[in-house]
Symmetry: C2
Subunit: 286 residues, 2 copies
Amino acid sequence: MPANQPLYAYIHGQITPLEQAFLHVSDLAIQRGYGVFDFFKVHAAQPLFLDYYLNRFYQSAQLMELTVPLARPALIEVIQALIRRNDLPLSGIKMILTGGYSADGYNPVEPNLLIIQQPLMLPTPEQVARGIKVITHDYLREIPPAKTINYSMGIRLIKQIKAQDADDVLYHHQGFVTEFPRANFFLVKHDNTVVTPATNVLAGITRRNVLALTEQPYPVTVGTVTLDDIYQAKEAFLTSTTKRVLPVVQIDDVVLGTGKPGPVTMALLQALLQMEEQQQQTVVIN
Amino acid sequence: MPANQPLYAYIHGQITPLEQAFLHVSDLAIQRGYGVFDFFKVHAAQPLFLDYYLNRFYQSAQLMELTVPLARPALIEVIQALIRRNDLPLSGIKMILTGGYSADGYNPVEPNLLIIQQPLMLPTPEQVARGIKVITHDYLREIPPAKTINYSMGIRLIKQIKAQDADDVLYHHQGFVTEFPRANFFLVKHDNTVVTPATNVLAGITRRNVLALTEQPYPVTVGTVTLDDIYQAKEAFLTSTTKRVLPVVQIDDVVLGTGKPGPVTMALLQALLQMEEQQQQTVVIN
């Protein structure tokens, strides 16, 4: 992208400068926080693991009784056109589907689909080498398998996270650990087995990818994870599209293991990076 | 209002035609469903019980770590100006406060305040005479005292409500009844005492008003209400700003009492109407 060239977005059926992308206040996202979204990475004009993200986007819409106005091939065409138009080396694309311009401010109508592409900041090597500190909070998302736009709890807790000098908040429900507001959670036990909560979580695509790393020497599985488990973990990490595998070195007041990112976590990060590179070589879009 | 004259709204610090009231897609309501709101009635240029609604609006903002950009006197001036501009005989005014135009799409920044005024439809005498049928659903709002814009569950259940030929959904949490998505719940017991759930509910202003009707022959109190209680109720009703007191005559498969609106409900509706009339005569705004 030439310097200072404006970004473009897709809204109201066409590609428009992002700075001119507006929704009327009657939209149900504004009136009632009603919408779903998804978000994937684009490396050198290649969307990574796009199939999985699209599957989830259509599923979220269905779970919330919304219809994506574009069928899958047409949606992919729009994504391709946006990628060509913006020409960014490394970016994230967010698709948002809202309840539409509702006349009565409550009943969903024809949904609004908007697609935004923006430069992406991945964690720095220093962040990965240091790991993060997290706090815990009892909260269960309303419809865990749906990626809705409702982040009321996570955003409301930002102040509390900062007050405790932490980086993020890990949700549990009555002692059963689930997920972060925007990431999944994995724990490494003292026998080097790796487990991520099986239920009441969003099916993260990076979570899926880590679960698919079957060539590792340690089994990675889904299961039950309690607060007791995490305080006794040898290592822990989160996974997300933007953060990949990011070590967690402290949970509440408990320092995990040595207090530094552990070997299992780092090995999985390396394996995930390899998988992403393979994807880039495999996928040809355009 | 002269016929066909456009409505006006307040947005970005000024009064603008409603049809030109837009938010940029970077707004946190669109990105993350993050915002609070409130809604009050205006009869003949008089906002009813405005103090209570403003109290709740500022409290909701505080609970969600947002700051209303206008102090109370300035907000009242804007409301008055909007009422004069639109000149509607009967209307509702909705104030929405969002997390603002967030550069990173997650951290709240300077909030956006928008105020919309629209004609109001009250229940018809036929609707009141017939009463409504409701279904029940286990759900607890995330931050019950805050009037957030998050109506994901209520809107998602619209299809289910219609499929069961019902009018609304009454939430309970593990058998303890709380509220409707947009209204409070009251139950009349066989001894003619009236009770509304005490906790885990939004503090409705119409609920407050009904609780303040102390000259009635039956005590109206707050307490615990279970699913068992409601199925055995003599009468039931909901309260809301737009619906006032609306009889509930069936809950799930259980017909309440005679299946018609009962005398206690209708007496409370009459008393509430009198209270509203007194408010209109008392309040002088402008």
